[in-house]
């Protein structure tokens, strides 16, 4: 039996066509098939969140999605968030300023997950600290201790107070 499926996927605004096995995971297509290695694999069991991408706008774990089931959808990876060589997004810049990244392994997944939270609350008031912490349930970080990540999100959601917060030490 030939199990290859002919699929298409829009990744970071680019249409991609390829053949894949039915048991291929989206994270395998992104990393191994398309060379987008910004998306990481930390656990392969759906618990660490380093593989988070946006699927039709929603943050999902790409190790918990079959490529075949994602076919026809729009995927955004960390490579598609800011223009290559261009400026960081507000969220990325705020995480950088608040030291919300150390070794950086969890950071692509964090940015992809938190991007949805920041967009959801844009214009509707900043998320509270408990909301930010709850939103991070699916992202494990072994370095930062999370406080600096939380501050980064708060900074990203409150540009108005940035001037006042800028002088604070991390």
């Amino acid at each position: 039996m030939d199990l290859n499926l002919n699929l298409n996927l829009n990744v970071n605004g680019r249409p991609e066509r390829f053949a894949a096995q039915p048991n291929e995971l989206l994270v395998e297509r992104l990393r191994d098939g398309l060379g987008l290695t910004g998306t990481k694999v930390g656990c392969d069991t759906g618990q660490c969140g380093t593989c988070v991408v946006r699927l039709d706008g929603r943050s999902v774990k790409s190790c918990l999605v079959l490529t075949a089931s994602a076919a026809g959808s729009e995927v955004t990876t960390i490579e598609g968030v800011a223009e290559r060589g261009g400026e960081l997004t507000g969220l990325q810049e705020a995480l950088r300023q608040e030291h919300g990244t150390q070794c950086g392994f969890c950071t692509p997944g964090m940015v992809m997950a938190l991007g949805e939270l920041v967009e959801n609350t844009a214009g509707g008031g900043a998320p509270t600290e408990p909301e930010i912490r709850e939103w991070l349930t699916g992202n494990l970080c072994r370095c930062t201790g999370y406080h600096s990540v939380v501050r980064g999100v708060q900074r990203a959601c409150a540009p108005a107070v940035e001037a006042g917060a800028a002088g604070r030490e991390g």
């Binding site: 995971l25 395998e28 943050s59 918990l64 079959l66 997950a113 709850e134």
Partner: protein, 273 residues
């Protein structure tokens, strides 16, 4: 990486999906948030995955004649945030919110959570406390089954869970959970709904499966729902009801179930008052 091999089909309608599911080894794939880890771990098997995630006929939340109809593909995130669900079935919205993490809630579905035969999940207790029914589509057409019967038997082979039907209530309902730290699965979860006939109480995690505890309900009918009264009502249950494991004793789990139920009742009763 999933090492086991299977075939994959995305049917264009429910009828075609049911035809495919009649074949040997065919399984429904919806959100995939427990099926895919299960296939990877080898605890689940499939010869063919019938992907229903794109079937619009299994979507949507509506209210009619005092009943909420929740399409099986409603994601846990949608369920947790939906104004009708939050207002009329708050225990269900809270259970959906307590599930996994935001990314799992973005793909995980109400139907998948209810149909999961692996580890205990959060929605079945809420559906039990709410006195809900499930709608199933099978080769013989559509049927309705009470959630109590459904949680005992699961989805019949060859059928698809199409919707959850929840009697709309006031806000006097609540859900409480003690989550396993690493997996977010419930160590124990309890849901309650206070009705004119007394409280409806369901527990999972501590028990072999999600169960309505009629003995506890009877002992608490008429109130008051003080912590002492609730704990005593749980102590009167047979010890075999609580299944030890994961480093816990039956005594601990029975106590935990009582504490969570007492909290849920206190919250629900406060809202009614």
């Amino acid at each position: 990486m999933i090492l086991t091999e299977f075939d994959y089909v995305r049917p264009l309608g429910l009828d075609r999906a049911l035809d495919l599911l009649a074949g040997p080894g065919a399984r429904v794939l919806a959100g995939g948030q427990s099926l895919l880890p299960g296939l990877r771990a080898g605890t689940e098997r499939a010869g063919l995955l019938v992907d229903v995630r794109h079937l619009d006929e299994l979507r949507g939340i509506s209210a009619a004649d005092g009943t909420l109809r929740i399409g099986a593909l409603t994601t846990l995130a949608e369920l947790a945030a939906h104004p009708l669900v939050r207002e009329r079935a708050p225990e269900l919205a809270a259970a959906a919110r307590a599930n996994g993490d935001p990314q799992v809630r973005n793909l995980g579905t109400a139907g998948g959570n209810l149909a999961d035969r692996g580890r205990p999940t959060d929605l079945p207790v809420a559906a039990l406390a709410a006195g809900a029914e499930v709608e199933l589509a099978g080769p013989g057409g559509r049927t309705r089954t009470g959630v109590e019967e459904f949680t005992a038997g699961g989805v019949p082979a060859g059928s698809v869970l199409t919707a959850l039907l929840v009697p709309a209530a006031g806000p006097a309902a609540a859900f409480e959970k003690a989550a396993d730290r690493a997996t977010r699965y419930p160590l124990c979860a309890a849901a309650v709904r206070i009705t004119a006939d007394g409280p409806r109480i369901a527990v999972t995690g501590a028990t072999p499966r999600a169960l309505r505890l009629r003995g506890v309900e009877d002992r608490l009918r008429g109130g008051p729902y003080t912590t002492e009264a609730v704990l005593a009502a749980f102590r009167a249950e047979p010890r075999e009801l609580f299944v030890p494991g994961r480093g816990t004793s039956a005594e601990y789990l029975g106590h935990l179930a009582g504490v969570l139920t007492a909290r849920a009742l206190a919250r629900a009763a406060r809202i009614t008052a």
